[in-house]
């Protein structure tokens, strides 16, 4: 069946409207339709869908990164497939089965290399962004040769990829200046890192820990200092709730002097001083936060939630550090993405099969678009940002 699906994807690329005229790609993006294994290509200026590419496999937790000319999207599927999508032609440019079970990927500083973060076989694989040929394999070996699942993979300055090993509890920094011979440095991080972020300037790598309290911080400007543990004692007062969905950590949650971080297993968001790493405020929320993302001008933070509160969105004002608006876009709100300068935000409501676009100033709904169980939304402006 896989074969058939692939064949369909290659033989019958739907002919799309985008190809018809000369145009740029700066206002395009992709929306993952996870159950169908398809992707919509959307235009954020006209708020429309301009294409759809099907037959892409298991897209749960699929993520996309962009070539630096913003023409291609690289999609990392859960089933280990890596697909290069041509946003202008509206078809699959290349496809490779790179692992059995994968959770995401990143594109290098120079745009020439892709790295995938894999569960099975646990490790990172590196590919040519042009041809998708594999150039390096970095098995996440630990203990007596077991392989660890890899999470929290990001690109970093200095042609590096940084990632975390879930079972091994380590952070690895891989230097790919010589793609055929990656130089890897390993650091002890803590129990079960579940995701990680890199600050927008590419300096701090922070891994969230599931197996113990706190986060692991690595200063990429001072690797010799090693990993420092931050926020070690979360709260003795309230008990940790069960986590039905792991939070995602995002570099876009650094705003001015503060980090805005989701608290694992708690109905709150932590506001953390960027220098002292002290918690300056806990903002109460109506659920466990999953994504915490700042509007590109840093004036607002948008938050979505884990089950059973996943029909809500909260908007937080970064001056007053309080929730200023509660929205209900639909059932199972999985992801959100701002337009490049942030005047609008696109939100996916999986179980209502729709995308909702909000004006971020008035907080009014601007448009609704049908989508088949939409999850991740990725706009091409990510191409020029570290760690995205």
């Amino acid at each position: 069946m896989k074969f058939l699906v692939r064949l369909l994807a290659l033989v019958a690329p739907l002919s799309l409207a985008v190809g018809a005229e000369l145009r740029g790609t700066g206002d395009l993006g992709v929306v993952v339709e996870r159950a169908e294994g398809s992707v919509q290509i959307v235009d954020t200026t006209r708020r429309t869908r301009v294409g759809r590419i099907t037959g892409l496999g298991d897209l749960s937790h699929a993520t996309a990164v962009f070539s630096r000319d913003e023409r291609y999207a690289y999609l990392f599927g859960r089933d280990g497939a890596l697909t290069k999508l041509d946003l202008l032609a509206g078809n699959v440019a290349k496809r490779a089965e790179q692992a059995h079970n994968s959770v995401g990927g990143a594109i290098s500083q120079d745009g020439r290399l892709l790295a995938s973060s894999n569960y099975t076989p646990g490790g990172v694989r590196v590919f040519s962004a042009e041809t998708l040929e594999r150039v390096a394999d970095i098995p996440a070996e630990y203990g007596n040769g077991q392989l660890s699942k890899v999470v929290g993979l990001v690109d970093a300055p200095g042609q590096r990829f940084v990632f975390s090993l879930f079972e091994a509890g380590e952070i690895w920094v891989a230097d790919l200046h010589d793609p055929k011979a990656p130089k890897v440095q390993k650091f002890k991080a803590g129990k079960e890192p579940y995701d990680a972020l890199i600050s927008p300037d590419g300096r701090y790598y922070i891994a969230g820990l599931f197996g113990e309290e706190g986060l692991a911080l690595l200063d990429l400007w001072n690797l010799d200092a090693g990993v420092k543990r931050i926020l070690p004692v979360y709260a003795k007062t309230d008990e940790k709730l069960p986590v039905f969905k792991m939070p995602h950590l995002e570099g876009r949650a650094l705003v001015g002097d503060y980090w805005f971080l989701p608290a694992v297993g708690h109905h709150e968001m932590l506001v953390v001083d960027r220098r002292s790493w002290e918690v300056v405020k806990r903002i109460p929320l109506e659920g466990q936060p999953v994504f915490v993302i700042a509007r590109p001008d840093d004036r607002q933070i948008w938050v979505n939630f884990a089950l059973p509160d996943n029909d809500k969105l909260h908007v937080i004002d970064t001056q007053t550090l309080s929730v200023v608006k509660r929205l209900a876009p639909g059932k199972a709100v999985l992801h959100m993405e701002f337009t490049p300068k942030g005047e609008e935000i696109w939100v996916s409501a999986r179980d209502d099969d729709r995308l909702v676009v909000y004006d971020t100033e008035t907080l009014e709904e601007k448009a609704r678009l049908p989508a088949d169980k939409p999850s991740g939304i990725f706009f091409t402006a990510r191409a020029h940002r570290l760690g995205l």
Binding site: M1, K2, V243, F244, M246, P308, A332, R350
Partner: protein
């Protein structure tokens, strides 16, 4: 290939035989299984942060353990308790769906 096809059929709306659970509730449970359990176990249950839940992976493991895992979670691991979302009978029904993807 057969397996993937089978899952496709199982998860397509309609197929399931109504036994004790109402059809509407079955749909909700199947959606929960595929979408929300799928976020850790994979949409096709081939594994993710959580282990695979394919029939081979579950064979040899008693229903009671699996039902208990679903209802009460496994403390100390990322598997959360689902008792707020479903009953033990419903968990048993889910285990049966996992074992017998029509």
């Amino acid at each position: 290939m057969v397996k993937e096809l089978a899952w496709g059929l199982l998860l397509a709306p309609m197929v399931v035989h109504a036994e004790t659970l109402k059809a509407e509730r079955q749909q909700q449970l199947l959606n929960l299984l595929k979408q929300d359990c799928g976020s850790c176990h994979g949409l096709q249950f081939k594994g993710g942060l959580g282990p695979p839940l394919l029939p081979e992976a579950l064979s040899g493991k008693p229903d009671s353990t699996l039902i208990d895992t679903i209802v009460n979670g496994r403390p100390g691991t990322a598997m959360p308790p689902w008792r707020g979302f479903l009953t033990a009978d419903e968990a048993a029904w889910l285990v049966n769906q996992l074992r017998n993807p029509q």
